[in-house]
Symmetry: C2
Subunit: 139 residues, 2 copies
């Protein structure tokens, strides 16, 4: 896995550092989306808060991760598919946030339906975010 991670960093012309490897592997391991706070909890002993801010920002700019809008002022981040290039994201899948456990999923099976907007409105990015209970929290 370590090989895969350094490959991703190299592909995006980023120098390979401990912080970047660790944060990238966190995304890989959990599989789900992470908020800044999640990452801070899981690596606060290893890295400074500021480093996490800067690393996430870099990853977004390079197209390694993308943001997921939320209503609770804690933006989530998730790994992009390979097709994501720097500054141009293709994340047409649905995101699901569980009200119970807070886990944020990328629902890859479902893609975001195209929507016709009124005249003059030009869509660049479309986010479909669904909240409710996930398959682990249902009774």
């Amino acid at each position: 896995m370590q090989a895969k991670i350094t490959e991703i960093l190299r592909k995006h012309q980023l120098s390979i550092t401990e912080a970047r490897k660790k944060i990238l592997s966190l995304f890989w391991e959990t599989g789900n989306a992470l908020a800044h706070g999640d990452i801070e909890q899981k690596s606060s002993e290893d890295f400074d808060r500021v480093t996490i801010y800067r690393t996430l920002q870099t990853f977004v700019e390079k197209g390694i991760i993308h943001t997921i809008p939320t209503s609770d002022n804690s933006v989530r981040y998730a790994l992009c598919k390979d097709e994501c290039a720097a500054g141009h994201h293709h994340d047409d899948h649905v995101h699901f946030i569980c009200d119970d456990c807070g886990t944020t999923y990328c629902i890859d099976e479902v893609s975001v339906p195209k929507v016709k907007l009124p005249k003059g409105f030009n869509a660049v990015q479309t986010d479909l975010v669904i909240s409710g209970t996930c398959n682990k929290c249902e009774q």
Copy 2:
């Protein structure tokens, strides 16, 4: 308009105060969604920050306004349609956030398409947020 505003407050069993009337009229006047910061800028001389936080919270709980998720850690709020009851929102319309001017629109003409989720995922709320350039910022 003042009459309409007090009517809304009364309908939701809220006491009629200066802060609530002012904040509600801000939503009415602008027509678009507002972030906490927007409201603070437009009324900081009239009210304390804390009052704005508490008022927005109350309005959401009572179903007067609803939240719009964003990727920039500044949740937007917009007026609900009449059908919104306390704790149970029906905001099936699309939201549009302009990357240029930051204005957030409720696109009432378009409704959010229903989406089939994988087994075990139970949708409670669906938000479709589109970003790009609005009809005032297009060249």
